[in-house]
């Protein structure tokens, strides 16, 4: 069932177009990420869904109701803001109880619901404290509790983990995902961190320059990127011209993407498996980190990147001439 339907949303600012006829359907209970570099329009889209900004044209429909012209307080959704936006003059409990109070709950009921939401994020003991005296991670949980206490149909998250350190971010990613499954709330998660998007999302919408480049499940985004932008933005990619091995399915000469883990490096041409394509190259750098070895080589005017999840092959050192080989079936042809 479609919970959120965005149709042809366009937003222009004085000198540039932030969103260009963006359409997006999100199913009930889905965890969807809007992923892209800064300035791609992802935050603008989130703000239009939340009602903090109005689109120049297009419609936003939530649960069958056109909310395009409704103010934020009338929309059946809540938001976790980038810098948490906790009310500094209220305690943690008052922050979380604010939503239920506005929804017409009695003070007692609002506070018990707030307490319950704080328990869900593991902060029940912090209720009487001031949010100003809390760490970033704790503030983030309070913001989350405040946003889910009203059990919205849709939760918007605006880069909520970007201010946390790496370890805490990884832990929060898992907790957020668990919470989402547990509550069954639809999440729209804005991020510029592709690993974060890959780790958490049911589907990822990769955005660039005001439009959605591709929307699909994380694996498909990684393995079958539609455009060169997506291929480059998600993970690392070797871009190969397709006429080289004649496998181009496109009518025009196009490009193919080969992920580094599918490129192997051989010291002798004889080692190449049958049916594989090869490119001659020279090693320019190697690294070995955490069980993964990376080999960077130049082949003509191209830089290639090969990765394997084991030690560097014997005889592969900087400056050595090698043969880069790959199975043509692993090359994915780009559309654009």
């Amino acid at each position: 069932m479609t919970l959120l339907a965005i149709t042809n949303v366009t937003k222009s600012f004085a000198n540039y177009r932030a969103l260009d006829r963006v359409s997006l359907d999100v199913a009930q209970g889905e965890f969807i990420s809007l992923l892209g570099p800064s300035g791609c329009g992802k935050t603008t889209l989130l703000r239009i869904i939340g009602g903090f900004m109005s689109a120049n044209s297009g419609r936003v429909v939530i649960d069958g109701e056109d909310v395009s012209v409704l103010p934020p307080e009338k929309r059946p959704l809540n938001t976790v803001f980038q810098n948490y936006a906790l009310f500094p003059h209220m305690t943690v409990l008052q922050n979380v109880a604010y939503g239920p109070l506005r929804g017409g709950a009695s003070r007692k009921e609002a506070e018990s619901r707030a307490q319950e939401a704080l328990e869900m994020v593991g902060l029940a003991a912090m209720a009487p404290r001031s949010p100003r005296a809390m760490s970033g991670g704790q503030q983030q949980r309070v913001a989350l509790a405040r946003a889910i206490v009203n059990r919205p149909k849709l939760l918007l998250l605006d880069e909520p983990l970007s201010a946390l350190d790496l370890q805490l971010r990884k832990r929060m990613q898992i907790e957020l995902k668990q919470l989402q499954v547990q509550l069954g709330i639809t999440f729209i998660f804005v991020t510029h961190d592709q690993e974060e998007a890959m780790a958490m999302s049911d589907r990822i919408a990769v955005m660039s320059a005001g439009h959605i480049e591709q929307i699909d499940v994380p694996e498909a985004i990684y393995r079958r990127p539609k455009t060169r932008f997506v291929a480059d933005f998600i993970g690392e990619a070797n871009i190969l011209p397709m006429q080289a091995d004649g496998r181009s399915r496109a009518e025009n000469p196009s490009e193919g993407v080969l992920r580094p883990e599918n490129l192997r490096v051989f010291t002798q041409a004889d080692d190449l498996p049958a049916g594989w394509s090869s490119l001659p190259g020279r090693v320019t750098a190697t690294t070995y980190v955490g069980g993964t070895s990376n080999i960077y080589l130049t082949s003509g005017d191209r830089t290639l990147h090969a990765r394997r999840y084991s030690a560097l092959p014997d005889g592969v050192r900087d400056g050595v001439d090698v043969i880069a080989g790959f199975d043509p079936a692993d090359v994915h042809v780009l559309e654009g």
């Binding site: 307080e73 959704l77 604010y98």
Partner: protein
């Protein structure tokens, strides 16, 4: 940061000297004068003379009524003005122009400004002409020599202080906080009273205290706009010093004004803290 004790003493020495010489000493002289009779004996007679007399209470009443009203009006007018400057104006040069317009009156002499109002508020002044022309009144309104006239003059001079302090506080309120409030289901009014206003309370208080202390001690504006018909405490004190040369009685009037002012500011700060505490949960 560590500063050694002798260094600290040296750093503090200058401000302490200035403060003592130019503030504590004169205040001490006034205080001592207020506690002595004209033949040099210590007594509370001067204060008795003030507090036992109904006329003085009436003057104190007028003084405080004018100061409290100008403070309230300045806050009530200053808040929307500050809102306009901080939230509505997008164009930076227009905002700068507005701020300059706002503080421009402060660059001219108090006396000049008050005379200006005397011209404007007179029977045939611009204000009455306008009121008559629009048909709002049938006869010219008497402003000069009334508390209303003084109030207009005081508010005009003191308004910039509330606009600036409130505007400053307003600019520090993160827009995300108001958005969060809307997001959680509060309408614009609710958001203002639950989030924006409490968070700008310190600016309102700061502006209020500045305006109040300047209004209560104002001399030139009330003196010129009263036409001798309304008297405030500062005018009484000035008379004693300048015409009667009764420094003891004048001193007692000044100290009385100071004591009442501090009591009222203390009381309102306490009230504001109490109010802020109450408002949190709502």
């Amino acid at each position: 940061m560590f500063t050694s004790r002798p260094t600290l003493l040296w750093l503090l020495a200058l401000p302490v000297c200035v403060f003592t010489a130019f503030f504590l000493m004169p205040l001490g002289v006034v205080l001592v004068a207020s506690l002595t009779t004209q033949d040099g004996q210590v007594s509370f007679a001067q204060y008795g003379r003030i507090l036992m007399d109904g006329y003085h209470w009436q003057v104190i009443g007028v003084t405080f009524r004018l100061a409290i009203l100008s403070t309230l009006i300045c806050v009530v007018l200053g808040y929307p003005l500050a809102w306009y400057l901080v939230r509505i104006v997008q164009w930076r040069s227009w905002r700068r122009a507005c701020v300059i317009l706002l503080i421009l009156p402060l660059f001219t002499s108090n006396i000049v400004r008050s005379f200006g109002w005397m011209v404007l508020l007179g029977r045939t002044g611009l204000v009455n002409d306008a009121l008559l022309a629009t048909g709002l009144v049938e006869r010219p309104v008497r402003f000069l020599g009334t508390e209303t006239g003084i109030l207009i003059g005081l508010v005009y001079i003191l308004l910039p202080f509330t606009v600036l302090t409130i505007g400053n506080a307003l600019a520090r309120v993160e827009p995300a906080l108001e958005q969060a409030s809307r997001d959680l289901g509060a309408g614009p009014m609710r958001t203002f009273f639950s989030i924006t206003f409490p968070l700008t309370m310190h600016g309102v208080m700061a502006g209020g205290i500045i305006v109040f202390s300047m209004a209560i001690s104002a001399y030139v504006t009330p003196a010129l706009l009263s036409g001798g018909k309304v008297t405030v405490l500062a005018m009484l004190a000035f008379q004693q010093y300048s015409t009667v040369f009764d420094f003891n009685y004048g001193g007692a009037l000044s100290i009385t004004l100071l004591a009442f002012t501090m009591a009222l500011i203390g009381f309102s700060s306490w009230l504001a803290r109490l109010g802020a505490h109450d408002m949190k949960g709502n």
